[in-house]
């Protein structure tokens, strides 16, 4: 007998709470391209090309130079910590003000202001008191919808970009809730905040709404997910890294050994799309827009995954969509798995202590059938920080100074302070100069300051053997295959029917690769998608191209 769920609140919030809790994991969200524009179903666009007058003039920070330069827009690599940390901000930026900052937090809640010496340390360096109101990271979309509806924003408010994309009418809310930063940051004005001016121009352009520069960006690594594999296990088995999809399949068959609790693969459908050369969303050629779903390349990727599943190469937990793929990879129960690229150094942090020979690597980037792969790039800014409307200009300047401080890149004194606290108190430096949190630091240090500004992405985890070299090698190779996205740099709100039509099709793909539906049912599903919003989307997107003179 299903008793009423005992929590008085659960029934009411079940759908929404659950929704928020899982929003971050929704594949539709991960693959959704971009949005943030105008009215329901309507589009607005901020043209990347014409925005140059609104964003800061770029002032590269040259205080710390990388050991391995990133190519084709890949992040720089640092193979060691600098022996001496550079000061990037000579004077404390603050004027003694007190401000609140609302940001999501993915991780344990630290003790609050007044009980936390890390906050005291950084606030002291800033000359400004920042009090954080952390939000539950997994339900941040629910909270932000409520906060915006109630006009209850903090002095500084951070929105992950995927949250902005999911909020209806954000484009209008942003202008009424938050200060226009254009007068403070456009062009040469940004010279007052040189570390902000050091941030990538595309990331800044991404934060222009309605012809105004509204937010401070967080420049993102160009790629989000890829296939990680157990390099140590493959070498142990005397095998080389795969060089193409068929090779990958053959390796999978060779290493698959369910009787001994080892399967070859997790699910890497998204990566295979790129291997087979499908576009991230639209391909523009000969005056026509073709959606990923309509390309042969995408279909080839689905067929390949069907073959992989049919052959029993995927771990049963992953077939059943269990969420333990990290543990399976770390324990060697699977050898190849797609994950966020950040999962690599997280796994090292967890595994190397017990198993010094543990090695992961990113699967080499290769194409299929003699063609190049098409690597899908992330949107240029992963989050935005906004300043509450109605502040005095001095206050805005003070907050921009704080954000400038927190934009200090890897290798600076400030970076060490806002990320790891005071040396000797919250962290110590080990023999190769890498920070090591003390017990006090482990309890108090948190991502608050890290989240109220952005800095150039960099590959810095030099404490892990070979890590920086392998990762930069992969990036520099992969980045040359970056997709030419016809909509690059344009924020677009996807029309509602277009966005909604995607779910049935992705459902069908799940059915197909798991063998519940025949491959031939793909045609029907794509036809339905066209009818239920796909063609509408094509028209809309074509309009955007014309609007921006890119047709």
């Amino acid at each position: 007998m299903p008793l009423r769920p005992p929590s008085p609140s659960r029934r009411r919030f079940l759908g929404l709470a659950g929704a928020g809790a899982l929003a971050a994991l929704s594949p539709a969200v991960l693959t959704s391209c971009s949005s943030g524009g105008g009215g329901a179903g309507g589009g607005s666009a901020a043209d990347a090309g014409s925005l140059d007058s609104l964003i800061p003039t770029h002032i590269p920070f040259e205080g710390v130079l990388p050991d391995i330069e990133g190519l084709h827009g890949a992040p720089d690599g640092f193979t060691s910590y600098p022996g001496e940390f550079v000061r990037a901000v000579p004077e404390p930026p603050g004027r003694g003000g007190s401000y609140t900052a609302m940001t999501p937090l993915w991780g344990p809640l630290p003790p609050g202001l007044g009980n936390n010496s890390f906050f005291d340390h950084v606030n002291g360096l800033l000359g400004t008191t920042i009090e954080f109101n952390f939000q539950d990271g997994n339900t941040v979309i629910d909270k932000m919808n409520a906060v915006v509806a109630g006009r209850d924003v903090a002095d500084l408010t951070m929105f992950p970009d995927w949250v902005i994309n999911l909020m209806p009418q954000f484009n209008r809310a942003v202008g009424e809730l938050f200060e226009d930063l254009t007068p403070y940051l456009a062009g040469d004005a940004a010279a007052a905040y040189p570390l902000l001016a050091n941030l990538d121009g595309d990331a800044w352009r991404w934060n222009v709404f309605n012809g105004r520069l509204q937010g401070v960006p967080w420049p993102a690594e160009p790629f989000g997910n890829w296939v990680l594999y157990r390099r140590d296990l493959l070498e142990e088995l005397g095998l080389e890294a795969p060089t193409g999809p068929d090779d990958l399949f053959a390796i999978g068959e060779e290493i698959n050994d369910p009787d001994n609790d080892r399967w070859a693969f997790g699910d890497f459908t998204l990566s295979m799309r790129q291997v087979f050369g499908a576009p991230k969303q639209w391909r523009y050629a000969n005056g026509e827009l073709t959606h990923m779903f309509e390309t042969d390349e995408w279909r080839a990727g689905v067929e390949f995954m069907r073959r992989v599943f049919d052959a029993g190469l995927v771990h049963p937990d992953i077939v059943a969509l269990g969420d333990n793929s990290k543990e399976l990879l770390n324990s060697g129960r699977i050898v190849f798995n797609q994950d966020g690229i950040g999962a690599w150094h997280e796994a090292y942090g967890q595994m190397l202590g017990d198993d010094p020979d543990f090695r992961l690597d990113l699967m080499p980037v290769f194409g299929a059938n003699g063609a190049d792969p098409v690597m899908h790039r992330s949107d240029p800014s992963a989050q935005s920080v906004f300043v509450r409307k109605g502040m005095e200009p001095e206050q805005i300047e003070e907050l921009l100074g704080v954000m400038n401080f927190c934009a200090a890149p890897f290798g600076t004194r400030e970076y060490m302070d806002y990320r790891y606290g005071a040396e000797g108190t919250h962290h110590e430096l080990n023999d190769d100069g890498a920070p090591r949190l003390t017990d006090l630091g482990a309890g108090e240090v948190n991502d608050g300051y890290y989240f109220i500004s952005g800095r150039p992405p960099a590959i810095t985890e030099s404490q892990y053997p070979d890590f920086v070299r392998w990762k930069t090698d992969w990036y520099n190779h992969a980045a040359q295959y970056s997709e030419e996205d016809p909509f690059a740099g344009i924020r677009i709100q996807r029309p509602e029917r277009f966005a909604g039509a995607e779910t049935p099709l992705t459902d069908r793909v799940q059915d197909i690769i798991r063998g519940r539906e025949d491959l031939s049912s793909l045609d029907r599903a794509v036809a339905d998608w066209r009818r239920d919003g796909g063609d509408e989307g094509r028209e809309f997107y074509f309009g955007v191209l014309q609007e921006h003179g890119r047709d």
Binding site: S7, N133, G322, Q350, R436, T438
Partner: protein, 303 residues
């Protein structure tokens, strides 16, 4: 033998051997099916990183014991403070809810009384139609209740299901007692507190438990209405421990600092959270169960 069946009433026959065997088998099977997964959860919470990795998930065969997960949870004082918040909200909330529910259940237990049907119907409708998240947030905000503990209690204080169940129990009490009391001139308040409630300890305990568990487990109200992290309840604090590494692109986190102290594996911490949240529940249940004593009615009716 006699001690084993000491609570068997004199009039009840001794169950036959096969019947007893069958019953015991079923009970043992039920207990095993439930305890086995609980054992897995507890064991995982006590496992070191190596054991969790070796298991590739939840740990079934012990591979060492470590209290690191619990140490991680209770270091820093944040959890301890949240326990106090949750205990306070649960205690006050349960009292408020129980009081309002008992009163209304009794007030609505007399068919034919003034407005009885419309009021009952109004209660029932709340069971069927739920308010949306944003209108509720705007209401709480307009009432100035953001960042107040009241926002964790009042919006969910009355649950229609609990109210209707309690009312049903009240209505199934023998009516003669109340009738005779009324004839003796007793008021409704007296009848409720002196007669109805003493005869309804069981259901009162159950509904109290439902409310208490609801307050104890709730976190979504706090997500919406509490900005001040110092006022977060335990469940919300605990949720934060399982979110590490879940941010998109995960280019964040303290991850690139060398871990200073051996930190517990995420899965062990998650299971420790399950165990921590389960403890108060196991402590409270016997208190509730105590009120399932039989024979109360007999005493009341005949006495």
């Amino acid at each position: 033998m006699s001690t084993l069946f000491e609570s068997r009433p004199v009039w009840a026959e001794r169950p036959s051997l096969p019947a007893r065997a069958a019953k015991n088998t079923v009970l043992v099977a039920v207990a095993v099916v439930i305890l086995l997964p609980i054992y897995v959860v507890v064991l995982t919470s006590l496992s070191p990183a190596s054991a969790v990795t070796a298991a590739g998930g939840l740990v079934v065969v012990p591979g060492g014991i470590s209290f690191q997960a619990y140490a991680d949870l209770f270091s820093g004082g944040v959890v301890t403070r949240a326990v106090l918040v949750s205990l306070g909200v649960t205690a006050v909330g349960t009292l408020v809810s129980l009081a309002a529910t008992v009163l209304a259940a009794y007030g609505l237990s007399r068919p034919g009384s003034l407005l009885h049907r419309p009021l009952l119907f109004a209660v029932l409708l709340t069971f069927l139609f739920a308010p949306g998240m944003i209108p509720l947030y705007l209401l709480v905000s307009d009432l100035g209740m953001i960042d107040s503990y009241a926002s964790l209690i009042l919006p969910t204080a009355v649950n229609a299901f609990n109210l209707v169940v309690m009312r049903a129990f009240f209505m199934n009490l023998p009516g003669e007692i109340a009738d005779s009391a009324r004839m003796d001139g007793a008021g409704e308040w007296t009848i409720l507190t002196r007669l109805v409630l003493p005869m309804s300890k069981g259901v009162t305990a159950v509904v109290g438990l439902f409310y208490a568990v609801g307050y104890w487990n709730a976190f979504f109200n706090a997500i919406l209405y509490i900005n001040d992290n110092a006022k977060w309840p335990l469940q919300l604090i605990l949720r934060q421990y399982v979110q590490q590494g879940q941010q998109l692109n995960s280019s964040s986190l303290i991850g690139d600092a060398v871990q200073g102290t051996a930190s517990a594996p995420n899965l062990a911490v998650q299971m420790a959270i399950v165990v921590v949240a389960l403890v108060p529940v196991t402590v409270v249940y016997p208190l509730v169960q105590k009120h399932f004593t039989k024979g109360v009615i007999i005493g009341a009716v005949k006495g």
